[in-house]
Structure formats: C-alpha cells, structure tokens
Amino acid sequence: MAEVAFDARHDPEAAAATRRYFWNRFLIYAVLTLFAVIYLAPLLVVVFNSLREQSEIARNGLISLPRSFRLDAWAEAWGTYCVSGTCEGMKRNFFNSLWMAIPATVISTLLGAMNGYVLSKWRFKGSEILFNLMLLGVFMPGQISLMPWAFLLGKLGLTNSTYGLVLIHVVQGISFTTLFCRNFYVSIPDDLIKAARIDGAGFWRIFRKIILPLSPPILIVTVIWQFTGIWNEYLFGVVFTSGQQQPITAALVALTAGGTTARAYDVMSAAVLIGALPPLLIYLFGGKYFVRGLTQGAIK
C-alpha cells in the first residue's frame, strides 16, 4: 500500500490544490520582495554613493549604479573631512557616541534590574503605584523634559559634555528597563525567594546569586533596546552639546550644513553609514536574542 504512487496528474482536485498553493506562495513572495526592495532602496543608494567617486555622482546623478569603486570616502569621513574648520572627520563624534551609549546602557540596565527586582519580589505598600508612575515615563516624549534638563544640566555644570548626556539617557531609560525587568522577574516563582530567605540569604545576596543568574535573556533585551535607542537619539545631543562634544547623530547634521563648498555626497554617505553601523551590527547579531528574551519566561 505504501508503494502506491501519488500522481497529481491523475487527481484533478489535488492538482488544482497544488496549483493554488503555488500561486498563493508566488503572490506572497512577490509582495514581500517588492516591499523589501522599497525599504532597502534608500540604504542601497547610500551604500553605492559611499563607494562612488564624487565626480561620477555629479555626472550620473544621486540614484545610479556605481561605475567606480573606492573606499576613499570612508577614510575621509572617518578621519580627515573638514567640518566647520576642524578636519577630523566623524571619528571623535563616533567615540563620543560610544562613551555616551555604553555607560548609559550599562547603568540604566543595572538600575532597571534592581528596580524590577524590588517591584516584583519585595513589594511594599504603594509599590504598584510607584511602578505605574514609572510606567508614565515610557509614554512621555523627550521634548517635554528638554527645559527641565537644560535647567538641571546648567546647575550641575554638565552642559556640553558627554556626562550630561549619559545622565539624561540613564534617567530617561529607567522607565523602559524597569518595565522589562519587572515583567520578567514576575515570572520567577516567589518560592525561590522564600527558600533563599530561609537559607539565610539577604536582599543583595538573593539578587546576585539567584536573580541575576536568571536574567541574561531580559538583560540582552534591555541592553539592545537601550543601546540602539541611545545611539540613535538626536534631540538631546543636538540641544545640549555642540562641536567636538556632539554625538555622531548630531554631528551628521553639521556635516550637511557645510555651506559654501559643493556637497560631498560620497563622504556624507560614508559618514551616515558609519553612524548607522553599531545599531545595525547589534541588530544583526543580537536580534534573535531580543525576540527570544521578550517572549520567554525566566524558568523554562
């Protein structure tokens, strides 16, 4: 019986089903490809332009396939291009962004983890209200806090410095990191905490020995979220820093506002890509952990 060959040609219904299946798939993939092209086209244009010669761009226009290939624009954008008098490229701003995003990410994630731990495992009278108030921060647009921050940074003497931006991003990010961690820790059984308390472990020991070792999935989520968010942030960077202190997102704008000379589209493209690279790499290497961390509970 297992030897009976199933031949679609002799079964008109099955043949029709196969045909239908094929056309359905075809349609789905056609639509997906079309949208992928639409979304990827700008990125492609920028990548191409970063590799083309400026003269070729001038001749053939901004949107065109590359006829030349060179990496000079990348080198220039990184280290030698002149923006308003200084000829150091984006290098300094790139590192500004890095020294802003890394500490801000680490600190806000750690604070979020501790907040989440307290709000899920050491509840106290009013802890739910506190959590809901913290949640408000998730929905609050950054512009609202511009004036208070200007005032506070002025008082603290942190205007036009990376430290100021670190402070801003830590505080602005706590709502998100707390939300992520708290919701993750809620799924850790309370019995674990009780057992540890009977075993003689205190608040910090339980956090270090039991909670943190269970946390990698959610810490990866908050790190990715915070790092990309802080790196891509523009408003605070452009408002509170200038010139050499600016993060790369703010500096890119200064690049386009070059003024008198002809626009160097090749260098600008390379600079934009340099600025976009870290979040892109994080997405490529960490994206799957992001989804996994958000969907899985603490205990498998």
């Binding site: 059984p189 019995d191 674990l192 009780k194 057992a195 540890a196 308390r197 009977i198 075993d199 003689g200 472990a201 020991r205 020995k209 039991i210 070792p213 269970l214 205990i299 498998k300």
Partner: protein
C-alpha cells in the same frame, strides 16, 4: 528541645480574616500534619511558622523562644516547598550548600555535610546536575536534602508531594515516613490529601475557614470526628450522613427506602438534652451485608433493608451505592460478598462505630 507552640494566632489582610485564633503544639520529634481544603489557611499558617508572613496577633514559640519577629533565617527551621524551589542556575551541590554559604560555614564542613545528606537520600550521582536535568522525584529528594543539611529544630513541608504522579507520590510518602523515623525531627507537614495526613502524622490538625476543627491522633480523628466537617473531610469515600429521629435515650429511627422506619439501637446512650433530630454518621466500611453470623460476632450491628443502586468494583474492594429513604449511601464490601445491582439487601450497620451529630451545630453528640 525543639517543640513548636502556637497560641491564639490570628492573621488578617485588611478586613479579611485568614486565621482566626489558632492553638497548636508539636512535641519534640512529633510529626504534625495540617490538613484541610484549599483556602482553609493551612499554607498561611506554615508561612507564619517559617517567618515568611507577619503575625497579626498571637504567639509562635519554637523551643523556648518567642519567634514572632525573628527573621526566617534565624528561626532554625528548614522548609520544603510544593514547587521544590530549587535554584535553577545552581547545581544540586550548590543548591544544598547555598544555605551554609550564606551562614559562612567553612568549606570542609560543607563538603562533609553534603556527603552525609547525599548518602542519606542516595543522590550522590546527581550532585553535579542542574535542577532542570532532574526528574520530579529527584528534585523532591534534592529539596529534602537542602532542608536536611541544615540540621534544623523544625522541619516544614508545604504540600511536598502534590507535583508528583500518583505512584511516585506513594513511594515518596513512604520515604518521608522512613526519613522522619531516622532523623526524628519535629515536623509540620501541610497537605490537602487526607491519606497523606493519616499515614504520616502522629497528630493531625484538621483546618477549615481559618480555624482548627480538631487536633488529635489520626485514629481519634477518624473514629471520633469532633464535627461533621472533620467527619466528611477525612476518609474516602466520605462518611455517610443519615438523618434520623431520636425515639428513646438510646434508640433512633431511620426511614428506609420503602417508607418504613427502622429502629436502631445506639451503642452508647445519648446525653440528656440531645436534639430530637440527629444525623447518623456511618463510614462505608462499617456497612455490611446482614447475617445472623455477623450479629453474633458484632452484637452492635443493626439491620435494615436497602435496594442496591450502583456497584463499583475497584479490585481490592467493591463500593455499592444503596438507597435509604431519599438519600444514597455508600458501603464498602468484600468483592466476593458484594451486592448485585438491583437486589435489595439486608443492610447491617455497626452502631458501635457510628457517630451521631447535632444537625444544627454540626457537633458530635
């Protein structure tokens, strides 16, 4: 001295009263089971003994120390949780030593203690594994190992067998009993399973709605339940409750299926002032097929007629549902001598084992 004494313990969350004046005590080495339906407060009571819940009012003494406001870690207790609560990121060895680490026990002493406990529970080969790699029964052993290693004054078990399958549960029950005999620690054991309570405990506290209904030996609880709740909760199938009328100081009448009244003689005369209407409580195993031979062996057996409505053979015994007036009662019979569906049998009720209750107060008469 490792006794446990609880005096007039109350617990309430706002206006909701969870425990309403609990009095309980466990002697050194005693095994006390707290049993009752869900929401009766037994787990809350255990958490309060452990120090995981605050005391609203009343006193908890461990040994000669009042521990109301003592931290869990300083109460010299060990607890086994229903979920086992093994630390998932640690190996079995680390799970067992975690408490000793926290208390700063020297490494050599830790290794010695792990060795002793692992040998006792036969988990030596599991020490390097993580909890996720263990079966339910193994996790249970590790959880007990973590408790045993502490050598505490008081052992607390919170429904430790509920997550195991039926067969393993019976095996582990036997092991817990053996273990208790060997280490002889004072133990408080919470369960909703009355069989577990009966088999393990030296004394049982039956709880309902935040108060202890009866605190006594398993035999007393089973034979002389103090009220209808205890009588109905302990024992499976449950005790039959049959409405009856008092006809004399030591005789009652029960309405049979055919509408006639059967008069039964009560083994011990009722106290004066007993209500006219009473409830006769008979356990299924005290219902027999009536014969003259039985009567000569058990003089207290009283007879009446009852049709058989349903027969349920379980192998070891056969349960029969019998009609008595408007209600159905369950009897437990030898499979060889079991009634047949549809027949009307002469029912023998062993009145020396029967209980009489007051239907309004539900208390034993």
């Amino acid at each position: 001295m490792s006794t446990l004494t609880i005096r007039n313990l109350h617990k309430s969350y706002g206006a909701v009263e969870i425990l309403a004046g609990i009095n309980l005590e466990a002697q050194t080495g005693e095994f006390v089971a707290l049993v009752g339906p869900s929401g009766c407060g037994k787990s809350t009571l255990l958490a309060m003994i452990a120090g995981l819940e605050t005391v609203t009012s009343g006193e908890i003494w461990i040994g000669d120390r009042l521990v109301n406001s003592v931290q869990p870690k300083d109460r010299d207790i060990a607890m086994v949780f229903q979920s086992y609560a093994l630390y998932p990121t640690m190996t079995v060895r680390e799970n067992i030593t975690f408490g000793m680490e926290s208390r700063g026990v020297p490494k050599a002493a830790q290794a010695e203690a792990v060795k002793r406990v692992a040998a006792l529970l036969q988990i030596e080969q599991l020490l390097k594994r993580k909890p996720g790699q263990l079966s339910g029964g193994q996790r249970q052993r590790v959880a007990m190992g973590r408790a045993l290693v502490r050598d505490p004054k008081l052992f607390l078990f919170d429904e430790p067998l509920s997550n195991l399958d039926a067969k393993l549960r019976v095996d582990m029950r036997t092991e817990i009993k053996k273990l208790h005999h060997r280490v002889g620690k004072t133990t408080v054991y919470v369960t909703h399973d009355q069989v577990e309570a009966m088999t393990l405990a030296s004394r049982i506290a039956v709880m309902n709605q935040g108060s202890v209904q009866q605190f006594d030996t398993p035999k007393q609880i089973y034979d002389r339940p103090t009220n209808m709740f205890v009588a109905g909760f302990m024992g499976s199938p449950a005790m039959n409750f049959i409405p009856a009328r008092l006809t004399g100081s030591s005789s009652i009448s029960v309405r049979a299926a055919d509408g006639t009244d059967a008069t039964l003689t009560v083994a011990t005369p009722l106290p004066a002032g007993a209500p006219k209407d009473v409830v006769l409580g008979v356990r299924p195993e005290h219902i027999y097929r009536f014969t003259t031979d039985l009567k000569s062996r058990k003089p207290a057996v009283e007879s009446m007629q009852a049709p058989v409505e349903l027969v349920e053979p379980t192998g070891a015994e056969t349960l029969a549902v019998l009609r008595l007036g408007a209600l159905e009662i369950t009897g437990r019979f030898e499979p060889d001598d079991a009634p047949i569906m549809g027949e009307t049998i002469a029912l023998g009720i062993d009145m020396s084992r029967a209980c009489l209750f007051d239907p309004t107060t539900k208390a034993l008469l």
